[in-house]
């Protein structure tokens, strides 16, 4: 597992199933409250559906499913983080959006060796916050649904 050495950078914290995740602000295009998500039959389970974000069609990605987090306690009003990749917009569905943190690169630890593989492959490292640990999302990997996953 490579250690990403982020320069001091801003992260938006989000929580999914009680776990704190950090997403680099630089990749975020939008934070929105998803309305009217259309389920796509036959799609893989990670895809919650598609929705309209100001005229663009966004593919909603279920982070719970991606991280195999138990399905219980879905929030009533989930939030979504809009990220553009290769000309397509994805919406990462999260329970809650926290705050924007500026963090020093030195505070990032590599993934602990005992971290579940399903987590490790989408984690760029662990941030030690006061009292909580934040998983830094590797957005690129998170949104690669083909070969990479098979290889992992």
């Amino acid at each position: 597992m490579q250690t990403n050495t982020y320069e001091p950078a801003d992260f938006v914290t989000v929580s999914v199933g009680g776990q704190l995740f950090g997403i680099p602000v630089s990749v975020i295009q939008d934070v929105f409250s998803p309305a009217a998500v259309t389920r796509v039959p036959l799609a893989r389970p990670e895809v919650s559906g598609v929705l309209n974000l100001r005229g663009r069609i966004v593919t909603a990605i279920d982070l719970r499913c991606r991280f195999s987090i138990a399905d219980e306690e879905r929030p009533e009003r989930p939030m979504a983080i809009g990220i553009e990749k290769a000309g397509e917009v994805y919406g990462l569905m999260v329970d809650e959006v926290g705050e924007v943190l500026r963090l020093e690169a030195g505070d990032i630890d590599p993934n602990p060796v005992n971290l579940d593989d399903r987590w490790a492959r989408f984690s760029a490292g662990i941030h030690r916050l006061d009292g909580r640990l934040m998983v830094v999302l590797d957005v690129d990997r998170l949104l690669s649904f083909g070969s990479l996953e098979d290889a992992a």
Binding site: T38, V40, P41, V47, L51, N52, G55
Partner: protein, 863 residues
């Protein structure tokens, strides 16, 4: 103005501007090789195009400049200020001529002798002479001596194979008013725009259309709104804008054809054929995205026509045709479609070859192929890996042909059809939508969700409800709809999409009758809403592997819905062999032809026990209203296809219940029909036989285990005789005429099926269970008119038996027919080699009877 000329003017004006700049740079950086190369290339291109368009004056000047530049490039001349001035002067002259050309579409009269002379001397190394004063005024009529052009110019190569260039050379007939008045800037009437800009514009317009739809949706609910009028205006303007932007994406189809004359010319050369390529309607415009998609298929088809379609000159002469074969490309608009015809006047498709090939490839069994019409056979060329070219040439015949063409065309919602007549030629007709960006779609719902179905594929809508004229019926699990005397296979959208069985469970539903290529089927949906113009957006890459969706779109209310791909659904309904028309009975035949297994129709009649009827014996399944059953002379009859058909029920009596529909098995032999009424058609099973033959009563052939259940096999012959007492005797006169047939089959079951069948056809049948017994009959001096033998038998198999029969003595000349469940080409070849005169499928009664009749007639004729 001529499109080609306009394009040339625009392009050349751009090139000249570049050369101007680069020349100046070169002057200060005389050793920059890349620059010299670039300038040379540009001038060279200008010269080449001039020659191509037939502009001699321009060409001469450009050529002279090129000669000088060529020497500079080769290092024979140094870059000097004088040299650059001279070249610049010649460029100015070119610009002058172009300006005139832009106004009048003709080259101005003029004398370039002085300039040419200066250039020629410069080429010799003498730069001293200046270009002299501009002298475009008509002077001495000394036609500039065009220096012979040594270099072959690919772009300018005259295309031998082309009889009528669609738009070549400056044409005078059209005068372009806007171009004529402002001649100061060359090509000002057209500008080049990056494709991305246009794509972006298209996206923006799409958004606008969406927003307009949204607004319209909102205002629709308000009765009296002040928004109405301005909104109407907005709507109209949006529509116009959409059209206008669409137009910017339009390109003449000629752009996709531009390479064809050259390709055909080369092919003609290579193949030793004379080919005349006609291109009609090159100006027909279509969306550039569509254009890109059909470019390759078209090229491939023209190649095919040249290679396979057209004959060699001598063959053509022998056939009484002109030596020169003709390939015609024709494009025209019709409705929201563009139609493209690729026609050749060659030899047409060889149905015999296709038949053999289809058989060899195992695309269908012999029986099915025999019964196919020519048009159905011809469609095989669209099968993957099907190529009739006997040998692989480097032109075509690699077997990656027409199926790819068809796939490409269907991908863009198009269809391809083919008509071919032996000796007359082949015509392909391609029908494609004008654009892919905005399509008209039917909005439907299935399992709580809404979907869009492109209108292009929709033929009609049928509503099914209890008590209405149309009902969804089922054969096993296959849902079908009777539509105008045809059975339409149905597929449930919600089931296909893996959603809870919505529509299929309901009795109230809509059927979208859909046509994809030649395939017709119905899509069952819960409800149908509206037709809307939708903007097609590609699905995210992560969803692209779902073949059932071709895109998604944003609706007027802002929600996103998926666009169903009828092609994907068609594949879901019948992956391989959905080709044939879903005609009556055909499905049945196909089922019956599957090897090793026998298809049975499971019915219930009289009691709850399942009864099995060999499907091959049933001509048709019908359902009639009980009211239509009449009694005449103590017999139950029904008016069926303009005739009276006697109907019986296995239990002996029919109890018609008003308002109910009575399922009937219809049997037809020659001009006789009979119906057997059953209580219920339960299923079609296809199983390997495992039967214990113990006829417990007349009317059954015994009991078999089908689907794990003891099932009695229905003795069709028994009932048919009870309907028509003279069924057999009539047949006797018809074909069999009392001829003797020996049937050799180890399976008692098949003997029981074939025996009555043969007897019904008027033959006298002797059946035995193995080859040894049959040969004993020969020793006893028995004689037969024909022998039918199974192949798979214990001890001596069919091949061994055939060898023994043919070895004689006694039966050497008796026609020998193999009746087997195995219909592989190898088996057939082996059978024929072993001495069989024919090889037919066990399950196809028509084929069996046909084979005997054919052989007996042949024998009689020979005798």
């Amino acid at each position: 103005m001529d499109d080609l000329l306009t394009e040339f003017l625009t392009e050349t004006a751009e090139s000249l501007d570049v050369i101007d700049l680069e020349l100046v740079t070169l002057e200060s950086d005389p050793n920059n090789r890349a620059l010299i190369d670039k300038i040379f290339r540009l001038v060279h291109t200008i010269k080449g195009t001039c020659g191509f368009l037939g502009l001699p004056r321009l060409e001469t000047v450009a050529h002279a400049s090129e000669t000088v530049l060529g020497k500079v490039r080769d290092g024979e001349l140094a870059v000097t200020s004088e040299g650059v001035t001279l070249i610049l002067a010649s460029l100015d002259r070119i610009k002058e001529i172009l300006a005139h050309l832009g106004q009048t579409q003709t080259e101005p009269e003029g004398d370039d002798a002085q300039l040419l002379d200066a250039l020629a001397r410069a080429a010799e190394g003498d730069m001293s002479a200046g270009p002299g004063a501009k002298s475009t005024q008509p002077a001495i009529e000394a036609a500039p001596e065009p220096e012979p052009d040594q270099e072959p110019e690919p772009e300018a190569a005259p295309v031998a194979a082309q009889s009528q260039p669609p738009a070549r050379g400056p044409s005078r007939e059209e005068s372009a008013p806007p171009a004529a008045k402002g001649g100061e800037a060359i090509g000002a009437q057209s500008i080049r725009v990056n494709v991305d800009v246009i794509e972006n514009l298209m996206t923006m317009v799409s958004e606008l259309v969406l927003t307009r739809n949204q607004l319209l949706e909102m205002v629709r609910h308000l009765d009296d709104s002040e928004f109405k009028v301005p909104l109407q205006r907005l709507s109209a303007v949006t529509g116009e804008l959409q059209d206008a932007v669409m137009k910017t994406r339009m390109q003449p189809i000629g752009n996709a054809w531009s390479k064809l004359p050259r390709i055909v010319r080369d092919l003609a050369h290579e193949l030793g054929k004379k080919i005349d390529l006609q291109m009609i309607g090159a100006e027909t415009e279509l969306d550039r995205q569509v254009l890109e998609m059909i470019k390759d298929p078209l090229t491939h088809m023209v190649r095919n026509s040249a290679d396979h379609g057209l004959e060699l000159p001598e063959e053509r002469r022998a056939a009484g045709k002109a030596e020169t074969g003709r390939i015609t490309l024709r494009a025209y608009h019709e409705g929201g479609h563009i139609l493209i015809e690729v026609r050749d006047d060659g030899r047409g498709l060889d149905c015999e070859k296709i038949r053999q090939k289809a058989l060899a490839r195992g695309l269908a069994t012999e029986g099915v192929i025999e019964s196919m019409s020519e048009a159905q056979l011809q469609k095989f060329i669209f099968h993957p890996g099907f190529s009739t070219a006997a040998k692989v040439t480097n032109v075509s015949g690699r077997g990656v042909g027409m199926d790819v063409v068809r796939t490409n065309i269907e991908q863009i919602g198009g269809t391809i059809e083919l008509r071919s007549q032996a000796g007359k030629g082949t015509t392909f007709l391609i029908k494609i939508p004008l654009t892919l960006a905005i399509v008209s779609a039917l909005i439907v719902s299935a399992g709580e969700a809404r979907f869009a179905v492109p209108q292009l594929a929709v033929r009609e809508l049928v509503r099914v409800a209890p008590g209405s004229e149309y009902q969804i019926e089922r054969i096993q699990n296959a849902a079908v709809l009777r539509l105008r005397n045809k059975l339409l296979p149905l597929v449930s959208l919600s089931e296909c999409l893996g959603m809870a069985a919505g529509a299929s469970a309901q009795r109230d539903a809509f059927i979208i009758v859909t046509q994809v290529g030649r395939r017709q089927f119905g899509i069952i949906v819960d409800a149908v809403f509206d037709t809307e113009e939708i903007v097609v957006k590609p699905v995210a890459s992560i969803l692209r592997d779902i073949p059932l969706f071709s895109g998604n779109t944003i609706m007027g209310d802002g929600s996103v819905i998926m666009i169903v791909d009828p092609n994907g659904l068609a594949d879901a309904i019948a992956p391989e062999q959905g080709e044939e028309d879903a005609g009556e009975g055909e499905t049945v035949v196909r089922l019956a032809d599957r090897q090793d297994k026998t298809a049975f129709l499971i019915v219930k009649a009289g009691n709850d026990e399942p009864l099995a009827v060999p499907l091959a014996l049933v001509t048709r399944l019908e359902e009639i209203e009980c009211e239509k059953l009449e009694t005449a002379g103590g017999r139950t009859v029904v008016q069926y296809r303009g005739r009276l058909m006697p109907v019986i029920h296995p239990s002996g009596y029919i109890a018609p219940e008003r308002g109910k529909r009575q399922p009937l098995l219809v049997f037809a032999e020659g001009d006789r029909v009979a119906g057997i009424a059953v209580d219920e058609i339960v299923d079609i099973v296809e199983e390997r036989l495992s039967i214990e033959l113990e006829p417990d009563s007349s009317g059954t052939l015994g009991t078999a285990v089908l689907r794990g259940r003891a099932t009695r096999i229905f003795d069709v012959a028994h009932y048919l005789t009870s309907i028509h007492a003279d069924w057999f005797s009539a047949r006797l006169k018809a074909t069999g005429q009392g001829r003797r047939v020996l049937l050799v089959d180890d399976s008692a079951f098949f003997r029981s099926i074939l025996e009555p069948l043969l007897r019904a056809a008027g033959y006298l049948v002797t059946s035995v269970g193995d080859a040894a017994e049959a040969l004993r009959l020969r020793e006893q001096g028995e004689s037969f008119d024909a022998i039918l033998s199974d192949i798979e038998m214990p001890d001596t198999d069919g091949f061994g038996f055939a060898a023994a029969v043919k070895a004689g003595p006694g039966w050497e000349t008796v026609p020998l027919i193999a009746v087997s469940a195995h219909g592989e080409p190898d088996d057939i070849a082996r059978g024929l080699a072993a001495g069989f005169d024919a090889y037919v499928s066990k399950s196809d009664r028509d084929q069996i009877l046909g084979a005997i009749a054919d052989l007996l007639t042949g024998q009689r004729a020979a005798a």
